[in-house]
Subunit: 309 residues, 2 copies
């Protein structure tokens, strides 16, 4: 599993005087000169796993390739600055793919003020591979880490969840503007973007913060797409199951002190995008669902993980 490998890796990465935050969060933080504000993240998409060129234009792939990395910057409350892209193009038709990829990247870059800084263009006999590295800068609010949630903090989420395969996994907006605004408005204790599934990514932010998290399942915002998929697949997962475990929602999970959370939910400062309080960080490790009478029982984290052996 990818998560096993990352756990192995984190034990082996040596400390470095210019590395403020290494593997294990949504992005890394490097110190250049006297300022520790350079935020870096990389994502790689492969044809057949992340997109299907039979069904999707290369332009949408390019758009997604950058948006995925920008979502990581959003999860760090970092302002995007620039990006570089590396591609492996099939030799036949590669030029047209490259042009369309660029158009999608450029559209997304323009939307969020990201400089297209450079890249590496390769050809081979394999399928399309696109890797985008995004570089951002922390703001006066400081970086938003996975590790700052405290027991008693509320669990706030943006938007709704599940069924992204119907389109949102390609056409989502990275929550850059929302993250910067919220970090400016109040002290966010911790954050993560939901790339692999709400319950899985919530369990990660809790684990990094050495605490647990209790979801009130009735409060989880379920997308229309999750409901639509459940209608289509009568024997498949319920809409709530999909909201908890489908990947690529690219919404934010935030840990916020109770009074700030109440204020944000009341003011809804990033409307029309909804902010919802779905539960609480708790002292007891693990992921939980609240049950009648104020009790809780374990909830299994589920979502997408890359598998290899």
């Amino acid at each position: 599993l990818e998560s096993d490998f990352i756990a192995w890796l984190r034990q082996r990465v040596p400390p470095h005087p210019q590395l403020l935050l290494g593997p294990g969060d949504d992005a890394a933080i490097l110190r250049l000169g006297d300022r520790a504000d350079c935020v870096v993240t990389v994502d790689l998409l492969t044809e057949g796993v992340d997109f299907d060129l039979q069904a999707v234009s290369a332009r949408r792939v390019g758009r997604k390739a950058l948006a995925v990395s920008l979502s990581d910057l959003a999860a760090m409350a970092a302002r995007p600055v620039g990006m570089v892209v590396a591609v492996a193009l099939p030799r036949r038709g590669g030029r047209q793919l490259a042009i369309e990829l660029f158009e999608g990247l450029a559209e997304m870059a323009g939307r969020y003020g990201v400089a297209i800084a450079g890249g590496d263009t390769n050809s081979w006999d394999g399928p399309l591979v696109v890797s985008v590295t995004a570089i951002g800068q922390t703001t006066a609010a400081g970086p938003l880490l996975r590790s700052g949630a405290k027991p008693g903090d509320r669990i706030l989420v943006t938007g709704d969840f599940g069924g992204s395969i119907l389109g949102k996994h390609l056409d989502f907006e990275p929550r850059i503007n929302e993250s910067l605004l919220l970090a400016d408005r109040c002290r966010l204790h911790a954050g993560i973007d939901v790339s692999d599934g709400l319950s899985l990514d919530l369990s990660r932010i809790a684990a990094e913060s050495r605490c647990g998290a209790t979801i009130e399942l009735s409060r989880v915002p379920i997308s229309l797409a999750a409901q639509e998929l459940a209608r289509q697949e009568a024997d498949g997962p319920t809409p709530l199951d999909r909201a908890l475990s489908d990947g690529e929602d690219f919404e934010l999970i935030l840990a916020v002190a109770p009074d700030d959370a109440a204020r944000l939910v009341s003011e809804q400062p990033v409307a029309p995008l909804q902010l919802t309080d779905i539960g609480e960080f708790v002292a007891e490790l693990g992921l939980w669902q609240s049950t009648a009478g104020g009790n809780r029982e374990p909830l299994e984290p589920r979502g997408w993980e890359h598998r290899f052996d």
Copy 2:
């Protein structure tokens, strides 16, 4: 051709206030805050094109993946700071590959003081793909660009050329230390690393500097590997042909004022690595070879280019 696509791209990348140097050089330069010193470069290696896992350990692939990007930083006279890596792993045997890749990356990172900042680990049904983004910082000497050569400048090269396929293409040292030392010792006007072939990369530095370059062919340092290959392939390219057109030497080409060049060649400050003066930048555009009697004739730039259509 890759170069056609890059030319197309350079016309289309919009200016950006934080982008000091965009596509077309060995790396990009971004401004973070008030300092324009963040140097970024990405390279991607694919199984079957850049390495053959039947013949080469994943450890050597990991080493090369980082060294290629560090060579780009060397060509910018930038000090390496950190790196992120994205991989697409085959599902079967991917874990062992990932561990060996990391070991090779970590060895190279340790050698040059590079922080291993993070990455993205993917699995798929395809071959191994590795993409490394390196982040560096310009020094007090400023960045070394491709575009600063002036007619009259001497062409200095490090090391020798040709036949890298016999091993150097995997096990080369990026010329980081040499580049930083030389940039500190004298004003380097322009620089590039030879990834695609001495004559091709020399033609690129000349074109970016809007001048030409004349090589004295008898002065080109030819590697033992190029001579060995020529012996093995009696009907193949000559050792000089290989030195001019084989890719992946990862040596530096530098444009230096004549008096500085004479001093550097005399002092040999990066010994045992040899500095050789192989010719002159000239006003007339194009690549040239000097002939008897002080004349010159055109020399065709040759080397490796990614091809796709």
